[in-house]
Amino acid sequence: MGTVYSKLRKPLVEGDKSLHDVTHDVCHSIEGKPSQLWWFGFLGTGLVTLLLVAVVGWLLYEGVGVWGLNKTVGWGFDITNFVFWVGIGHAGTLISAVLFLFRQKWRTSINRSAEAMTLFAVVCAGLFPLIHMGRLWIGFLWVAPYPNLRGPLWVNFRSPLLWDVFAISTYLTISAVFWYIGLIPDLAAVRDRAKHWARRLFYGTLSQGWNGSVRSWNHYETAYMIFAGLATPLVFSVHTIVSFDFATSVIPGWHTTIFPPYFVAGAVFSGFGMVLTLLLITRKTMRLEQYITISHLENMGKVIILTGSLVGLAYGTEFFIAWYSGSLYESFAFINRATGPFSWSYWIMVSCNVLSPQVLWFKKLRRNPMVLFVMSIFVNIGMWFERFVIIVTSLHRDYLPSSWSYYYPTLIEVLTLVGSFGLFFFLFFAFVRVMPAIAFGEVKGVMKMGQTVHHDPKPAQPEPEVSNA
């Protein structure tokens, strides 16, 4: 087949791939022997996950006191990590569902791993509300509204924490189902290529007898569309509800009506940051540069600069309102954020979230994977600190100065955060070995097969540059 290029639209997959090439490229990585690099990553992150098990075990054995929290600062690393990971979990569904509904075809190369990332991030996120409880062993049960023998004693539907329980569990369920449905055609392809009976059984069971008929595809695409429709509002609702934890409270710095959009923008921002980090690693280690192209990266960069600016605007608005409200406590909370004992964390946040994405205004830098990688790390750090700033600096100096305190995280808390990253990457490494990391069924759909042919002797030139986004 001849090489076909559009002058206006660059191909979404580079390297002149045939349909078989695509299947082979993607499936090869889960069929052949894993690379040393993979083993290194898998075992390394596995060890870090064991560390997580150890520190959480210690926490459960000794009590929440092994963390550095106190009577004034009741939440620290725990809920910071929770909100951080939930935020990360936004990008996957956004890419899969929202971009799907908006017919953004470039999403196909990255949606699978982004969805997986979402799932793993939500798993990590879900860990923290559980372990932050003083009595996990009963708490995990009592927050569920199930029929019980305790008479009128029911869960408290006024509590944002309960709303969280519903929001997170719904999101996790929908994301998992959506991800799984998208996997079915690809799993069937893997099944068909499988040589060993066990593999056939495993992938055969998971692909639920997919036969690739038009009828199947028709059902599949309808279902996919429906789930995309269901998942889309969740992208916005989850972080809105997470923000209610703070927005409905009375604590200055928490009690802010701007929180829902601010949190959603922040979540998309951090989610894309993390997707970028992961994809940059994946395309390098799994040699998928031709599928996850520079253009993909650039598009994500654009989303980041947009959401980063939104977040920056929110920071500014908060300060304005703090001053404009005339509330003694409110203005103090924000002055304290920028100049108080925790101002270092505030300025880390501002530099990482508002200043560092500014490099993306420049096309050259936007298309440079190394720059993007460094920037994405900054975004991850910045967004973690955003949650830390909101939670800790608001709590540590609230209404009565007699109770003002500082918060010194302990080693256990730091290791728990590190461990949660271990778990996240461990799951991701396992995923890329077991499941096709790219939705090749969908990728094939956006390849330029059988379209109008322009015979061009040379590969596409960058100009005229037209955005795909």
């Binding site: 106190n70 939440w75 869960v155 006024r158 924490l161 409270s249 209404y399």
Partner: protein
């Protein structure tokens, strides 16, 4: 079996119980069972019957119902004040101490130290049997040894003022013994001065309720001086503005001091002088009142102030009271002269009914040490005092003890002194034994046991009587006491009544003429006005919790933070910010303070409002043989973060007793910094209207002054309102009465089983107190307070008890995912521990930050300590949130009681532990729905306000503005002016 003589004779018992009794500490269940029953036997025997045998409760004894608590009157021995107490005894064990309402010393109030005496009772570190050289011995051994040497021995004790107790001492003296008594924190100078000026060497009775103007020269009468609970109570009656007292009547307190004392913090005017200037200032006052007693040295108080203050005294006349805690007899003489000149004797202080709370004779003690060093003392019996630790020359005393052939201690602990003695006769805890006191001449106070003795210990009196071969020595001391009092009780009172009431004796006005003043004595005071200042002076003072150090083993008191600095578990070197800077040290830096022959290491801490060039260190810390005091979690040594502990100072601070009387001290930094366990690190209100105050002048013009700027809450809520159809419990805290003594805090901890968490946890800001006393400083010029400012400032201090505010719109209630905290239909914010899953969301969302989380398992690891727990209250497990319940258990009791008798709940029928023990009645509890309850009336007081009213939490606890008896400050006037602007 006779109690205390033989613990192994259980002849009346069934064999199973006998076996259990012998392994009494084997298991908690058995232990509780046995001690409970045994103690009940003791209590019954102690109060009603002559049956002295321990029996299992097969038949229910008449008048005693298991599970029901009974109160027994007794006397507090936590300090020398000898306040009357009621022991709440349930199932044979005391679980709470309260002031005895009929006690003329203290009334219902009891200080933190008094409250905490239960810890000492159950503390397993006490001696369990008599010892010789640290090894347990039989009583017969020690008795034999002591009998041989007791005749002609020297008995060294603290103040012994009980009539029967003194009869025992007299018997001892009759056998050729010599008795010397001293007080670790001495008031000998006061008695000595009165001996010279009035011919009676006694400490006068002080009547703060009679005084309109009190000038205190370093006499911390609201903190620890002589009888602080009684003094605070009396003083507060002259200050109380509740229920429309005529404002003119409010007394004024002026404090002259170098450090920042509780009295100074509560003073309307604080004049900062160094100790070295005190004599000069007193002389100056005397001179201005017309006395030429001698030269007046140069001091730092401005002329205008002196003239004004002298005029104030003159105006007050016989209603004035000048007191000083000075150890210098000459300064005391000048104070006596001033009081006499003003005509105060007979009104605000009186020698006709003197205090007998400090009878120590420092001269006799000095003679004793001389004699011991000379080797002329053959036998020394040290009883209930710890001179090796608490004498300025403790080391010298220890050395002198080496020259005494026989040394015996009667002590409940192997403390610094007892452990130097050859024998220790293990003494009962004061709550296990009989005793009598005469704290004020003519007023007796009895002490009875609340529990059968826990260990193989004995009353000190019994030991002494036995050793001198007195026939009473074979009796239980109760019999001796009973026989004595049956012969000596006031007319119309029998022994049973005396034991029931606990106190009695003289009442009404004193009779007879007041002794006259001998002007000739003033010749000795000629040099009192001399000023010999040093670059760095040292001030020592009795701490508000550990007092003279005997309570160093007490976890509740160790964890009770100093009211001024909010530091717990250690003492510190307080210096003014300027002095800190001059000395080049910062907060937490370990410094070594040295005087000739002694030194101690303590961390430095800034104390705004102190005189410059002064370092103040509290006494009572730095015990080296106080046993494994509670630290970290539980009692394991290894639970302590070594970073927190400096070598040698441990959790217990430094011993400042060697500095008593020292004029100058040298300070050097050790280069080490430690983390101070502060319960609060911010001392400014940040211009927030939290602790509201005004001046008396302004208050008289407008009773709402200081409280004008309440921002009315926007009263909207998402949820349906509560309608309190029956009761609506609430509290009003009068900030004008609160003196910051923290008695409420300790009382609450005991009543509600609040755990002690230790130094490290306090450093993490995880102390568990359900009620705390917030201390706020305010700059004297009305600007925002900055404790680090080195400019000369004399800040005002305010105290604000803060506990769960029981909000109608409680932020905590809406956020709990499992409804572990919810609202009762009587206005209580209730916490269901069993339902709590520990998200801490409620604590985060509490604007008052009064919720406390169980970060670890805090319950006592020691089984004996479990006896102290209040059985009405659940011991919270790890991972659970807790907070003030307004003593829900007491409310239920009160309601049940009222229902039983089919009456309505009258005002005062229910009193939470904090309100009950408050010496100054700062906390009023009751039914806000019942217009007859005081609290409902106080709700309408113009001074009433809710903290953070503007966030519409609608608290059930409200406060009354603090009113200071001083001219209005410019900033306060500005507020009022603005308010008028609003009105028009």
């Amino acid at each position: 079996m006779e109690i205390g003589t033989n613990n192994n004779d259980f002849s009346d018992m069934p064999p199973e119980l006998k076996a259990e009794m012998k392994e009494v500490s084997q298991s908690r269940r058995d232990f509780m069972k046995v001690t409970g029953m045994a103690a009940m036997g003791a209590v019954i025997a102690g109060c009603t019957a002559e049956d002295r045998h321990v029996k299992p409760l097969i038949k229910k004894p008449e008048g005693i119902t298991p599970g029901v608590a009974y109160n027994y009157a007794s006397t507090c021995q936590g300090c020398s004040a000898n306040c009357g107490t009621l022991m709440k005894v349930r199932d044979g064990r005391p679980i709470k101490l309260e002031g005895n309402a009929i006690s003329p010393i203290n009334g219902t109030g009891l200080c933190a130290t008094g409250q905490a005496q239960l810890w000492t009772l159950y503390n397993p570190d006490r001696l369990h049997s008599p010892t010789k050289g640290g090894e347990p011995v039989e009583w017969s051994d020690i008795d034999a040894a002591a009998k041989a040497v007791a005749g002609g021995a020297v008995l060294l004790t603290g103040t012994i003022n009980g009539p029967c107790a003194n009869s025992v001492i007299n018997k001892f003296k009759a056998k050729g013994g010599r008795h010397v008594s001293y007080d670790a924190v001495s008031c000998y100078a006061i008695a000595k001065a009165h001996g010279q000026t009035h011919g009676t060497p006694v400490i006068p009775g002080y009547y703060f309720d009679q005084a309109t103007t009190v000038f205190s020269f370093d006499a911390d009468f609201l903190g620890a001086w002589i009888s602080p609970v009684g003094f605070a109570r009396d003083w507060a009656t002259r200050r109380d503005l509740k229920f429309g007292r005529d404002g003119k009547d409010m007394s004024r307190l002026v404090s002259f001091e170098a450090r920042m004392s509780l009295t100074g913090a509560n003073a309307d005017e604080r004049v900062r002088i160094k100790d070295s200037e005190r004599g000069a200032v007193l002389m100056d006052l005397a001179k201005r009142l017309g006395g030429d007693l001698g030269a007046v040295g140069k001091h730092s108080v401005p002329e205008a102030d002196m003239a004004r203050l002298a005029e104030e005294l003159k105006q007050a006349g016989r209603r004035a009271l000048v007191i000083t805690g000075s150890l210098d007899v000459n300064e005391q003489l000048v104070a006596n002269w001033i009081n006499n000149k003003l005509g105060a004797y007979g009104t605000t202080l009186d020698l006709r009914r003197p205090s007998r709370q400090k009878l120590g004779d420092d001269d006799a003690l000095a003679q004793l040490i001389k004699d011991m060093s000379a080797g002329s003392v053959k036998t020394l019996i040290v009883w209930g005092v710890n001179p090796v630790y608490d004498l300025p020359n403790g080391a010298a005393f220890k050395e002198a003890m080496g020259k005494v052939a026989n040394t015996i201690a009667i002590s409940s602990h192997a403390d610094e002194t007892a452990s130097e003695c050859q024998w220790i006769a293990a003494e009962d805890d004061p709550l296990e034994t009989w005793n009598d006191f005469e704290p004020v001449q003519g007023i007796f106070s009895l002490a009875q046991p609340g529990i059968r003795r826990l260990w193989n210990t004995r009353s000190g009196f019994a030991s002494l009587l036995k050793w001198i071969g007195d026939p009473d020595g074979n009796k239980d001391y109760r019999e001796v006491l009973k026989a004595f009092w049956e012969a000596n009780l006031p007319r119309g009172m029998n022994w049973t009544q005396a034991v029931e009431q606990g106190t009695g004796g003289a009442s009404g006005d004193v009779r007879g003429d007041h002794p006259g003043f001998n002007n000739a004595a003033m010749g000795a005071a000629r040099d009192a006005g001399k000023v010999e200042s040093a670059t760095l002076e040292v001030v020592t003072y009795e701490s508000y919790n550990l007092r003279d150090g005997r309570h160093a083993t007490n976890g509740w008191l160790q964890e009770m933070a100093d009211p001024m600095s909010r530091i717990s578990w250690t003492n510190v070197a307080f210096m003014s910010p300027a002095t800190m800077k001059a000395q080049g040290v910062d907060e937490g830096d370990m410094v070594e303070l040295s005087v000739e022959g002694a030194s101690c290491k303590v961390p430095a801490n800034r104390q705004p409002g102190m005189a410059d060039g002064v370092v103040a260190v509290s006494l009572g810390y730095g015990r080296t043989k106080a046993g494994p005091i509670v630290h970290g979690r539980g009692v394991e040594e290894d639970a302590v973060d070594p970073d927190l502990l400096d070598e040698g100072i441990h959790a217990i601070g430094g011993n400042a007793f060697p500095f008593i009387g020292a004029k100058s001290v040298s300070l050097s930094a050790t280069g080490r910094t430690i983390r101070l366990a502060k319960v609060s690190t911010h001392d400014s209100q940040e211009d927030r209207p939290i602790l509201k105050q005004t001046s008396l002048e302004q208050w008289k013009k407008n009773p709402k002054s200081g409280n004008e700027h309440e921002i009315p809450p926007v009263d909207i809520t998402l949820w349906p309102r509560w309608d309190y159809k029956g009761h609506k419990w609430g509290m009003v805290v009068d900030l004008n009465s609160c003196i910051g003594c923290s008695a409420c805090q300790v009382a609450c901890s005991i009543e509600n089983n609040v755990p002690v968490v230790g130094k490290e946890e306090v450093w993490y800001r995880r102390e568990m107190h359900w009620i705390r006393v917030d201390t706020y400083y305010e700059d004297n010029d009305g600007s925002k307070f900055d404790g680090k400012k080195t400019e000369d400032i004399n800040p005002e201090v305010g105290f604000q008890p803060m506990m769960c505010q029981h909000c109608d719109n409680a932020p905590c209630e809406t956020v709990c995912p499992v409804i572990a905290t919810s609202h009762s239909d009587e206005g209580l914010n209730v916490q269901a521990y069993n339902r709590c899953i520990g998200t801490r969301y409620c604590a985060n969302n509490c604007p008052y930050k009064v919720r406390r989380f169980n970060w670890f398992r805090y319950e006592n690891l020691n089984l004996t300590m479990n006896l102290v727990l209040n059985p009405d209250i659940v011991v919270r497990s790890r991972g659970v949130m807790e907070k003030c319940s307004m003593c829900a258990q007491r409310i239920y009791d009160g309601k049940r009681e009222a229902a039983l008798h089919d009456t309505k709940i009258v005002d005062g029928a229910i009193t939470p532990a904090c309100a009950q023990t408050c010496p100054t009645d700062a906390i009023t509890f009751g039914d806000l729905n019942d217009s007859e309850h005081k609290v409902a009336k106080l709700l309408k007081d113009p001074r009433n306000y809710a903290v953070l009213a503007e966030i519409n939490t609608r608290p059930g606890v409200t406060y009354l503005t603090k009113v200071r008896n001083r001219p209005a400050k410019e900033s306060e006037l500005k507020l009022t002016a603005n308010d008028h602007g609003h009105d028009h």
